[in-house]
């Protein structure tokens, strides 16, 4: 996979001011929706400004040439760490339910998911 700024910033890639470009792209409503956060309107402005400043700071990474560099997702040279697939007794499930906000028997209880029109 190669790094290409035009794909990252879509049609707005031509704006020269990086902060302005990021703010045009960074739609707080959309990101809050993806984050499952019901932000209050008074929070939004400040968070949008902070995140614009942070994204503008990290923007300088794009100037660095990383052609042919492998990404690091993990620092240990370990892969495929498996344990034996053995059944063991455990009381974790019962204990976890004790402190659930609401539980019913063996289940976590939540409000209605789908409403009937």
């Amino acid at each position: 996979m190669s790094f290409d700024t035009s794909s990252a910033f879509g049609q707005n890639g031509g704006t020269s001011n990086p902060l302005l470009r990021i703010l045009m792209e960074f739609k707080i409503e959309r990101v809050a929706e993806l984050s499952r956060l019901n932000l209050k309107s008074e929070e939004k402005q400040k968070l949008e400004k902070d995140l614009g400043a942070i994204l503008s700071y990290v923007e300088k990474l794009s100037a660095l040439d990383t052609t042919g560099v492998e990404p690091t997702s993990h620092v240990l040279n370990m892969e495929n760490v498996f344990r034996k697939d053995e059944a063991k007794t455990s009381d974790a499930a019962e204990k976890a339910l004790v402190h659930a906000p609401r539980a019913d028997g063996r289940f976590f209880k939540v409000p209605k998911i789908v409403h009937r029109d």
């Binding site: 993806l34 990474l61 660095l64 690091t72 997702s73 993990h74 939540v110 209605k112």
Partner: protein, 475 residues
């Protein structure tokens, strides 16, 4: 009789093995009750909850108190991560480090304040009020393990566990004038540590001396089948490496860590430490870690991405806060909005953004590639030197409120500690002096992966030569 609270962990263990731990525990209970209202270093320290294994005198830690950062799970005891979203949560199991501490005969004493979910460098983002620095109550103790460092510095406990994702053990240790060790990634099990950045997080000790840190590292290190990122590498007896011999040890001073913006008093103090090492027979070399300036950017992309994913589990279904709502969707949104503080929201939003479709390659993947370059900087450097010496933090403790409104300025206070987390190498902070205003200064030592022994030896030699750790805050 000397004040029991001023003992080191080593000294207290010797006392407890002879006379039992009871008088020590009582002394710390009195001290914590007297001092904590001013510091807010402990969120909870109910003595009735102190679980002591009896009779502890024959066990390695002999029943003496050790305090725990409030993001490490203890079976049957509330854990909050200093967040409203987890308040009243009681985990049904022990973290592996807790199991190990109990087996070694520690009394778990005091739950330490922290930045909410370990997001911060000042302990100001705690939902339960900021922790204060014992050297100056108007200043921050550093973060995120601010309560762990402040409680050790204030003699409220013998030693504490913290967690370090980008400097959260070392920076508060520096700002409070105590010793803090971030082990190699994989050295200590993360099982039962509430996750922030899973490819960075490590639990480690915060103590009064280097020897105390080695004692606790001996207890908590080692392979754990319950953590798939726990290394099978055998852990040595770290106390065996504590001798004062640094003759011929090659110590690197990275030129990128002595830059404009660092407090001149800090630079002077760390350079003086290098002179002491030279006097002790070590070889001091200037080295280069050319990608250092990018470490904060990489961290605030990759670590927030991991954080946003890890914090997805807090939605009001299985534990912690649930805001009553008409349907499931609204419950998720309202619980998370009311449960998380501002810094947690900033990081969740940022992490979600850098992982979202269309931005993944430009931010997350780019960040991971630059992480490789930073690792390679260290690999090259460790061909020339055995340990790296630097300041831990560019400044001493700053005023409460000073950096709250500027997240980038706050993030930059971690610039010297973040690279070790990106590379996964062991690193520690130990006291090396004081500013003219009387605030502690910390120096950082970094070493090759799984070579904590050499790092501890270098730290011990300096500590024993200078005796700086003996000075205590007046409270």
């Amino acid at each position: 009789m000397t004040d029991l609270c001023s003992l080191t962990l080593k000294e207290a263990i010797d006392v407890a093995k002879k006379d039992g731990p009871q008088s020590i525990l009582e002394a710390f209970q009195r001290r914590a009750a007297a001092v904590n209202p001013r510091l807010n270093a402990f969120l909870r320290f109910d003595p009735s909850q102190s679980s002591v294994v009896l009779p502890p005198e024959r066990l390695p830690l002999a029943g003496v108190p050790v305090s725990i950062k409030d993001n490490i799970c203890i079976d049957g005891r509330e854990v909050t991560c200093a967040s409203k979203i987890l308040a009243k949560h009681v985990p049904p199991y022990d973290a592996t480090v807790i199991e190990k501490l109990k087996t070694a005969g520690a009394t778990l004493f005091g739950t330490c304040n922290m930045d909410e979910f370990a997001f911060g460098s000042s302990c100001e983002t705690s939902a339960f009020g900021p922790c204060r620095n014992p050297w100056d109550l108007e200043r921050v103790p550093g973060g995120s393990s601010g309560g762990s460092a402040a409680s050790v510095a204030a003699d409220m406990t013998l030693a504490a566990l913290g967690s370090d994702t980008g400097g959260s053990i070392r920076q508060p240790a520096a700002l409070c004038g105590v010793v803090g060790v971030k082990p190699t990634y994989g050295r200590v099990s993360r099982y039962g540590l509430i996750a922030f950045g899973s490819s960075f997080d490590q639990i480690g000790p915060i103590t009064k001396t280097v020897e105390d840190a080695a004692i606790l590292l001996n207890v908590i290190s080692g392979h754990d089948p319950k953590d798939s990122t726990s290394s099978p590498e055998a852990a040595p007896d770290f106390t065996q490496s504590l001798n004062r011999d640094v003759k011929g040890l090659r110590i690197g001073l990275p030129k990128e860590y002595f830059i404009e913006g660092i407090d001149p008093e800090i630079e002077k103090s760390v350079r003086a430490a290098a002179d002491i090492y030279r006097k002790l027979g070590a070889e001091i070399k200037t080295i280069s870690l050319p990608h250092t300036e990018h470490s904060v950017s990489v961290y605030y992309i990759v670590a927030v991405a991991e954080a946003s994913s890890n914090l997805g589990r807090f939605d009001g279904v299985e534990y912690g806060l649930r805001v009553p709502s008409k349907d499931l969707r609204e419950m998720y949104f309202e619980t998370r909005d009311q449960g998380f503080g501002q810094e947690a929201k900033r990081r969740i939003l940022l992490g979600t953004f850098v992982l979202s479709a269309g931005y993944y390659e430009a931010y997350y993947l780019k960040g991971q590639k630059v992480r490789t370059l930073i690792r390679q900087d260290f690999e090259k450097a460790f061909k020339e030197v055995d340990v790296i010496l630097s300041p831990t933090s560019p400044t001493a403790a700053f005023k409460i409120g000073e950096k709250v409104s500027d997240p980038v300025a706050m993030y930059l206070s971690d610039i010297f500690t973040i690279p070790a987390n990106l590379a996964g190498i062991p690193a520690m902070s130990l006291p090396c002096g004081f500013t003219s205003g009387g605030l502690p200064i910390g120096m950082q030592l970094m070493a090759r992966p799984f070579d904590e022994a050499t790092m501890l030896r270098a730290a011990y030699a300096f500590e024993q030569e200078t005796g700086i750790y003996k000075k205590k805050p007046l409270l």
